[in-house]
């Protein structure tokens, strides 16, 4: 069984598409993200915090464990509130005798985090034709790369993809996207730098309709959530997309850099106020950061995490598996 067949089945599931023929069973599928994260986590620098190994050691739980766990969660960027809440939840379980040793604690933590971040396996159903996916986020979070990777996966599954280059602001952003479109075999709809992003998005959707494309990915310029005029511009892009195709955008994904600290909450909140979010893409998980702010975001705002970016190559995007993530991030490397 090659890795790419395995991947394809997982992606087909995410998009609600017919699975490509393969004699795959469920279990090995998980290796994708987990294997990747484990690989990184097992490197020396990646030890989450020295005490974590101790917390999850198969010995009986002591009172100190709770403080250590709280610290470990904060160090993973979960934030004070979410960390305290998680510790409280697990403590209650321990009080009821459901957690007695470190191994059980690791399992319970993974389960709790998993429930919070993505109660159900993530889905990006491609029910509309075309299905319009708007990609938003702050500067440098990885929007363009994520669009390129998504286009690649969709094309692989036989979907006809149109990419709208609505980041008309950043220098050479359109050229960057053009390279990705080329690599993934998607069609790029672009205008000159400085053009109105709404007009580009409108063009992209109209041209996708005319050509009978299945999916439109709209890349937008990075913007800080506190920039009122730029957030207003984003709202307009979404509205214009809705004019080109009632019901669109069907999916609005916030791209969140996993190195982000507590500001991530403000990002999710304010982007969500401008354009209702359907999910989060958590990027750069191949680095040293744990992306715990995504735990806080899903807890506070209920936005599910749908995709994980784990590298710079075309294949380095995965449907987000919360249990696997939690295990890889919060459990001690074997």
């Amino acid at each position: 069984m090659s890795e790419s067949d395995d991947d394809r089945a997982v992606w087909a599931e995410l998009f609600g598409l017919e699975a490509p023929p393969s004699e795959e069973d469920q279990a090995p599928r998980r290796r994708g993200l987990l294997g990747r994260l484990r690989e990184n986590l097992s490197r020396p620098r990646q030890t989450i915090s020295p005490q974590l190994a101790g917390i999850f050691a198969p010995r009986l739980i002591t009172e100190d464990v709770w403080d250590e766990l709280e610290e470990a969660l904060i160090v993973a960027d979960c934030g004070v509130d979410a960390s305290l809440a998680l510790v409280e939840e697990l403590r209650e379980q321990a009080g009821e005798g459901r957690i007695t040793n470190g191994t059980e604690l690791a399992g319970a933590l993974a389960a709790a985090v998993g429930r919070q971040m993505a109660p159900d396996p993530p889905r990006i159903p491609l029910t509309a034709s075309p299905t319009v996916i708007l990609v938003v986020g702050v500067n440098g979070s990885g929007k363009t790369t994520s669009v390129g990777k998504l286009a690649h996966r969709l094309s692989e599954l036989g979907q006809k993809v149109v990419i709208g280059a609505a980041d008309t602001f950043r220098a050479a952003a359109i050229d960057q996207l053009a390279v990705w479109a080329d690599r993934s075999g998607a069609q790029l709809v672009r205008q000159a730098p400085g053009a109105d992003p709404g007009a580009v998005a409108f063009d992209a959707v109209s041209s996708a309709k005319a050509r009978g494309a299945d999916v439109v990915l709209v890349d937008t310029a990075g913007r800080l959530q506190t920039q009122r005029n730029l957030m207003e511009e984003l709202r307009k892009v979404a509205a214009v997309v809705g004019k080109a195709d009632p019901g669109a955008p069907h999916e609005t994904l916030l791209v969140l850099d996993s190195t982000t600290g507590q500001n991530g909450l403000s990002q999710a909140r304010l982007f969500g106020e401008a354009v209702p979010l359907t999910g989060v893409v958590l990027t750069k998980l191949d680095g040293t950061a744990k992306g715990g702010i995504a735990v806080a975001i899903s807890r506070e705002l209920g936005t599910p995490i749908k995709l994980a970016g784990v590298g710079e190559k075309l294949e380095d995007l995965r449907p987000f598996d919360a249990r696997v993530y939690a295990q890889a991030i919060f459990s001690a490397p074997e």
Binding site: R45, R170, L224, T226, Q262
Partner: protein, 438 residues
Amino acid sequence: MFDSLSDKLQSAFAGLRGKGKLTEADIDVAMRAIRLSLLEADVNMGVVRQFTKAIGERAKGAEVMQSLTPDQQVVKIVNEELTSLMGQANVGMPTSPRPPTVVLMAGLQGSGKTTCCAKLARHYAQQGRAPMLVACDVHRPAAAQQLAVLGEQVGVPVYREDGTDAVGIASRGIAEAKAKVRDLVIVDTAGRTVIDEAMMDELVRVRDAVKPTAVVLVLDAMTGQTAVEVATAFQEAVQFDGAILTKLDGDARGGAALSVRATTGRPIYFVGTGEKVEALEPFHPDRMASRILGMGDVLSLIERAQQTVDVDDARAMEKKILGGGMTLEDFANQLKQVRKMGPVGQLLGMMPGFGKMKQLKDVEVDEKQLDRVQAIISSMTPSERRRPEIINGSRRQRIAAGSGTTVQEVNQLLAQFKQMRKLMKRFGKGGLPPIPGT
């Protein structure tokens, strides 16, 4: 969003008001508030631990325990320690005595390196230097093109090549700069995560090829706990000399700045405050300290208050006010004292809780109105000021005429004063902090 540290300390100390001296346990409560505030600002856990330990020891000294306003004293100590940790003054980027000065930019993906290259080039070109940019990001699509576009925007030449040999491009770029007598070369590199050994190795080789005057770490102000791992790894690999903190134009508290500084000792040269090429500012340690703490300009307020308010008087007044025994005379004095500190609107803006409130942003405190209040009170007789109850209709007419106001305004002031006195009495019982003169 986040409570500022001074809000947190105020509520930590609220229950203690009027209780007399503080105990060590009270200080521990305050230390917890500081810990939370720093963690919420993304200061690294290890750094927070060291820091609160140092503060705790100082706070247990007499200056806080005996203070009338322990919360303000603690904020002051925190700020002093923070500022000394951040560095007292701005440190400039070094230049080479033998030009060209070579600056090597490094950092994670998307941190803002390429934009910073252009910002630095523009900044130094304006100071009469002759910069050149070298595009060594051979990995990200269109990275060199991005630098070329930015170079054109700021009118600075860009050296670029096709191909994937970052080290070769770097050396040839330096040679080109020398041939063209440019005195500043800024080398852009690809973003990389610190656990990518091949990429970190590439950076080391680029550095060895260009022999930089300064290696600059470009760090996103929104970075969380991992800032320490990132900074230490770049320090180990390429011994960066200083940092630039980007995207400070947003609402990130920027605790990463403190983490980097505390663990590597390296200064921050500049901050990026926008996407445009002119959005670059020198780093001010003191401003960064207040930003991390979310204190607005409360510090300058504390300083001004200390300069203008006599502590013994204030202590006596607090007692009187909280007991409900405040007279109009006291009120006028308080008002005078507050106004000595500066325009009240400006003072309000400096209060952390207020600055943040949207409703208050557009409130303009009418200084003329305050002038009229003072005029009304000074047109009263001393006994009227002490016992406002005796002010009947004819006295109101006299006061209005004397102060050049209307009876209506006098009525309004008296009603407000009565209300306020009641409120203060309640605060006194509930232990809420009084705000003199408002």
